[in-house]
C-alpha cells in the first residue's frame, strides 16, 4: 500500500537542519540520498561541498520569504541617505554569501561586519557600528518587535532546491 499522503513531522528521522543536509548526502552511510533545502541555505554551502553536489533550483518560492535590509527605526533615514550617497553600509547577517550576491545585484556597497547563526534582529542594538542587518523576513513581526524597520525589501527571494551527491563523492 502506498502512503501517498505521507506526513513528515519534525521528529521524523529524515528531517534535519537545512545546513546539515549537504554533508549528510555525502556521508558514506547514505546511498542514493536526495535532499531538499531553501536557496538561502544552499547559497552558504562551502565550495568544497558544492563541488560534490548536484543542485537544482525547483523554481518554487517558499511562502513570502525574502531578504530585506533592516535598520533601527531612528536610523532608517540615515541609512537611506548613505545608500543614496553610495557610502558603505555596515551589515550583520547569517547569510554572508547571499549578502555578497545582493551587493553585486544592487550595486550597493554592503560590507559584512558581523556573522551570527541566529537572532540577527538583536544585533543592531548590541553592535552600534552596524547600519543594519540583512536577513530573511516573512511577516516582519520579529524585526518590528526589536525596533527595526525595513529599509530595502525584496532584495532576494527564497526558492526550494533539490540536491544530491555526484557519483563517487564523499564528505568523510
Amino acid at each position: 500500500m502506498f502512503c501517498r499522503r505521507s506526513v513528515f513531522t519534525k521528529d521524523d528521522p529524515r528531517v534535519f537542519r537545512e545546513g546539515d543536509i549537504p554533508s549528510l548526502l555525502l556521508d558514506p552511510d547514505i546511498e542514493r540520498g536526495f535532499g531538499l533545502a531553501g536557496s538561502d541555505s544552499i547559497a552558504e554551502i562551502s565550495p568544497r561541498l558544492r563541488a560534490q553536489l548536484r543542485i537544482e533550483d525547483l523554481g518554487r518560492s517558499i511562502s513570502n520569504l525574502r531578504f530585506a535590509l533592516m535598520a533601527l527605526v531612528p536610523n532608517t533615514e540615515t541609512v537611506r541617505k548613505k545608500i543614496d550617497a553610495g557610502d558603505p553600509i555596515i551589515i550583520g547577517t547569517s547569510n554572508p554569501a547571499t549578502v555578497g550576491a545582493i551587493a553585486l545585484n544592487t550595486a550597493i556597497d554592503f560590507q559584512v561586519s558581523a556573522v551570527y547563526g541566529g537572532q540577527i534582529e538583536k544585533l543592531p542594538r548590541l553592535l552600534p557600528r552596524l547600519d543594519g542587518i540583512i536577513d530573511l523576513v516573512d511577516s516582519g513581526k520579529s524585526c518590528r518587535d526589536q525596533g527595526l524597520e525595513v529599509v530595502l525589501d525584496d532584495l532576494q527571494t527564497v526558492t526550494l532546491c533539490g540536491l544530491w551527491a555526484l557519483e563517487g563523492s564523499q564528505y568523510y
Binding site: F34, L36, A43, E56, L58, I62
Partner: protein, 46 residues
C-alpha cells in the same frame, strides 16, 4: 551559483532515492513539492 537543470532531473533523482532528507525549516514546502511531482519515499511503501 545554483546549477539549473531540466526539471525532471530532481524529480527522477527524488523518485529513485533510497532516502529523502527533508528540511526542518521548510518542511511544508518540501512535502508539497514531493506531492506535486508524485514522488513517494520508498521507506513509505508497505
Amino acid at each position: 551559483m545554483i546549477q539549473t537543470l531540466e526539471a525532471c532531473s530532481a524529480t527522477s533523482m527524488a523518485a529513485d532515492a533510497s532516502i529523502l532528507l527533508l528540511p526542518k525549516g521548510n518542511l511544508a514546502e518540501a512535502t508539497s513539492w514531493l506531492q506535486s511531482v508524485d514522488v513517494l519515499p520508498k521507506e513509505c511503501l508497505h
